[in-house]
């Protein structure tokens, strides 16, 4: 991040220092926002696979619920992405 910011600072005029800082913060915000949902979706899908392996006859119901859970968990990461866009381009 700091290297990117350094290179950008070398190449951009001094008036864009604010956008450089914003780019750094945006990267940090998005990186942090991926952590929790990443763990959450991994755990969710792992447990769903386990449930489907134990009870293959309930696979359809588990899959539907799994997609719902993914949708809810993913929302946090996507809000992080929106914050990234807001910080980077606004």
């Amino acid at each position: 991040m700091s290297i990117l910011a350094q290179i950008a600072a070398d190449q951009l005029p001094a008036a864009d220092q604010k956008s450089i800082a914003a780019a750094g913060q945006a990267g940090l915000a998005y990186g942090l926002a991926t952590l929790g949902p990443g763990i959450g979706i991994g755990y969710l899908v792992g447990q769903s696979v386990q449930a489907m392996a134990r009870q293959p006859e309930a696979a359809g119901m588990v899959r539907t619920t799994m997609f719902l859970g993914i949708a809810f968990t993913e929302a946090l990461a996507l809000i992080g992405f929106v914050v990234f866009i807001l910080l980077k381009f606004v």
Partner: protein, 187 residues
Amino acid sequence: MLALITVLAETASTDVANATKEVKNPILPTLNEMFWALVVFVLLWALMKYVLLPPIMKTFQERADKVRDDLEAAEAAETARVTKLEQYEAELAGARAEAVALIEQARSEGDAERRTQITAAEAEVAAAKAEAAAEIAQAKAAARAELSGSIADIAVGAAEAVVQKPLDRAAQGQLVEDYVNRAGSQN
């Protein structure tokens, strides 16, 4: 209504225009795109509800009806088959019972016939036996009578010849008779 929308849109669009003068915001929705999305989606919804989806649902319904009818027909055929089978089985059981009854009857008739024949044969045999016994007894009596007569004659003749004098034939006859009876009872 349209005027109100236009006024709202004008204010909103001027706001957006003022905002985009300074910063470009790629997140916020723009009014013209919202308008077109709303129009298109509501149109699609109405089309789907009244034009596009009913034939599909009708096809589903027809297919479900056909499946149900076919299933019912199959069930009816199965029921008919089962009843026919039961009927056949009942008929078969009746025929078998009849055959058994016939066999039984024949057997009992044969038994009765045999029994009467046996009885008749036994009766015949018994009659023959009785006749034979009677004949034997008669022959025996005749032989005995003949024998006793001739023995008495012989004995009296022999005794006459020995004593040379006439014997009382009747008294001697009686004596021989007794003797022969005694001897006959001994064998």
